[in-house]
Amino acid sequence: MLNEATALEGGFSNPVLNAQSVFRAVMDAMAKPATIVEVDAVVTPPSRLDRAAGAVACALIDTDTPFWLDATLAESTALRAWLTFHTGAREMATCGDVAFALVGAPQTMPPLERFAQGTQEYPNRSATLILQVPSLESGAPLTFEGPGIRDRVVLAPRGLPQDFAAQWKANRKRFPRGVDLILTTGDAIACLPRSARLVEMEG
């Protein structure tokens, strides 16, 4: 049952300053990939969405950027109403050409290549995927290098697709085309811009 009151509540209490502070956390995280950044998570979305994922959505999505929800999130009528109300954006039925995707169960999400990749001439016309994961620290460690990373950095997200390593390498190979990821859990995020290279570790 859709509860109108729930949809109206739980957004930014100070839309201007909250959006700025959440954006700065995302910018910071995008500029230092695979590093965990705390978000001043100032929203309370319906239960299926973490506070950080909800805050990032409210800060970046609007009428110019249609979004897509994976099956897990789309099941929640309350969440769909909440996102539509707080972003003003249209929800799309398919994931192929949206600017943003919110994914509640990354393990079973469509392959990264199914989302907008941008073109060789306009690589910015690509999707940003907000992946909600159970943890950023207790999964199998992944080592990254590339712009924004001094030497190397390790991130250990749980709940990514089984073949994530292969998918991410293919994403990197499409550079400058490709998708960018914002991984979220609780009040924290870590970004994987398409420029981040996954390093094969020995043993």
Binding site: L17, S21, F23, T119, Q120, P123, N124, G146
Partner: protein, 291 residues
Amino acid sequence: MNAHASNYNFAYLDEQTKRMIRRAILKAIAVPGYQVPFASREMPMPYGWGTGGVQVTASILGPDDVLKVIDQGADDTTNAVSIRKFFQKVAGVETTTSTEDATIIQTRHRIPEAPLQEGQVLVYQVPIPEPLRFLEPRETETRKMHALEEYGLMHVKLYEDIAKNGHIATTYAYPVKVEGRYVMDPSPTPKFDNPKMHMSPALQLFGAGREKRIYAVPPHTEVISLDFEDHPFEVQRFDKPCALCGAEQVYLDEVVLDDRGGRMFVCSDTHHCESRQAAGHRGEMSGEALS
């Protein structure tokens, strides 16, 4: 947070514009050196006054930031002062002339001499973002050249310089390659500053208002000035240290002292020069009255 006039949007721009610019900034960071198109807005200052940089700063700025604005290395030029006042008025932010204390530094022409730090953001005001523009006026063509990584013409142009002058004559807006992929215009900074862009711990954002482009260099990113094996890239050298603070290996401006040809060379980075003088460093003209 300081009080600011409530009849303005915070930082002047409306929220939808800021979101659009913020999304462009994130894409620019994800594809270092690539110029992201954006819908540039009219600002209450003419183009040429850094409207691109101002829009970038306005979109990232928060009440906890400390802003420094420089023009040709100086904090006290008309352009720098008016941009600083603008943000004091519309965002109520604290401003500074100190490179070390600033969280955001908006600049035209120079990168500060003091090394930048992790967490700082350097925002460049860019007049012409397209490094290939003088070779090819058509946007559709330059876009294709970037897409296909066709940078041969750029090398030919630099080599013609060498043939004509015995060295590469370009001293400002000297082209760089970012992370081995995109050729980028570092804006009209002197090539002296190019090495500071390489592996900088700060995030570098570039805004071109009239040309409606935003591009970025993330921290710790490779920025290499284009050159040739037999003619490697070199920065300008100055014969003497700064006449006021004695600094070497800094960028100097010529200052005319009188109408009889008297002149001296001093730090272009005024904050750097003043800090050194305050710390007791002296140059050959120290203590002499400037007329």
